[in-house]
Amino acid sequence: MKYFIAALLALLAVSLPDLVAAASDALPPDAAPQPSRLDYPVIAGISARSLAWSMAQMHLFLAAFVLAVPLFSIATEFMGVVTGDDRFDTMAREFMKITMAAYSLTALVGGGLLLTLLVFYPHLMGYLVKVFRGQMLIYALLFGLESITLYLYFYSWDALRRGNRKYYHMSIGLVLNTVGLTLMFVANAWVSFMMSPAGIAPDGAITGTVWEATRNPLWNPLNLHRFLANIAYGGAIVGGYAAYMFLAEKDPVQKAHYDWMGYTSNFIAILGFLPLPFAGYWLMAEIYAYSQQMGITAMGGILAWLFIIQAVLIGTIMLAANYYLWSGLMRTDRGAQYGRYVKYIAVVIVGGFLVWVTPHTLILTTSEIQNLGGTHHKILGPLGIMPAKNTAVNLMLVFTFLSFQMFYRSSREPVVPWAKSANMVVVALYVVGIANIIGAGIYGYITPTVYKVGASVPQVVTTLTIIIGSVIIDVFMLRGAKSEKVHWGRMTERSQYALFVLPVAFTWLMGLMGYIRSSLRTNWHVYTVMKDNSPENYIPTLGDAGNTITGITLAFMAVMVFVFWLSRLGQTRQKNAEISA
């Protein structure tokens, strides 16, 4: 209980830091600093932006992982308590084991990022400190609390594993997650303030409270988007770990364990991933509402091509996740009967993927425009516009869910007498739902923009209705179902590579999205308030950004290999000791 009070107090302190560190009256309402190009330190020819970019992105990768894993670790732990199945508990502990080694690296890189920003962008940091005042100190305090609860949560695992003590352990986990999420929300406030400043005068003079600056227009959309993405990301990374262990282990029991862990991680990744497009849609809508200029910079200007790469990345993630689910059908003997549907799903997913990568407004050279007879391709053009893309993404989501549902059912044989009829109701739901999604898409074609945007909402709701509707029906239909034996470990080696696609693609995708989000500010540190006059205040080309993102991803992969190796170090030594004894 006292943890809860502590966490509540911490939350209060974050939202109202003036209570804790009241200094606002002493500050005169100065305008935001406007450093000129010469005010930016040049040190040993280091590219300040590349350094800050790499540090920030690396910190974000590690932090996303470290924040996400405790979230689904505690969920898995809870599953263990509910089902009484000890495997869940073992797996939850293994999730945490990987996290521990990554945690100190997160702090280390975070410190490096802070140092980089203070050295190379002193004016910006000075201004942000003025705006957020005591909140930054509270952030440091929270970081300490995060460390304590994280270590407590992991190292007390075996001591508090059984009986009533388990609930103490889970309470620690709850505090850990509360603190972790608060940390992220606070950091998000600073980042979103730079995009959509609030609580200040047009010249940057601070007029409002810290809470007003925190609660800026893009804060909550960003919070939701990052929260979901973190879960998907954490799941993907742990899945990569499990896949590697699956390939490396020879012992069938261990293999079965890691196959199950890989499956669960993939499930978590997809669970976080499915609602992500909708969160992205909300974020984009809020960006448009905040500033049409900014929205158009993102969707129609220099950055438009980025969304093509994004589509390719998301497409590979979808294909890999689906491929993994299809491979999983062979874990049960019943699974084979679903195998014949796989090819149709594959066609829809690949088709949707192709529609999605079709660019809308092509930035072409003059001669290309003449050859094409316009900026939109005659045949491909219609596939590039919003209704087509919305239809494609919703169909891809529906069919990915279908893959999952098939896998789920493959290990359960319904016993209720009305199973066949219920199944027909589900099939009808899919048929009507898909028709509705396509219908709304066609409607969007023949109507003006306002209607197009309006028509995309029923599509999203339809997708969710299909998912929720069939889950509800399945729950009742499969009540007391005869469960088929699942042969965990009966997986091809090739299927495991799908689990490597996820973390690689996710990491690169996150790097890309970070590039887009930062680029939206164009040449502003704080949009419309504080100009970026540094020598690198321009948006880098796609190729340059791609190189940087690839470099950071490589570095992160190297760190992860080190982290995984570290987490296994303990076991390896023990085995040697047994042999020598």
């Binding site: 027909m424 009507v432 109507t447 309006g454 709701v461």
Partner: protein, 42 residues
């Protein structure tokens, strides 16, 4: 017995169509966009 399965299917189709029509209609109305016969602005 088979016939009953398909009867349920057709029935479900009709009911789901009704459900989705209702959903679409209320969403479009909530957004202040025309519904029904007015849906086609051209």
């Amino acid at each position: 017995m088979m016939a009953r399965k398909y009867l349920v299917f057709v029935l479900a189709l009709v009911i789901w169509a009704g459900v989705f029509y209702f959903i679409d209609k209320s969403i479009m109305q909530a957004q202040g966009l025309p519904v029904g016969a007015d849906m086609m602005p051209i």
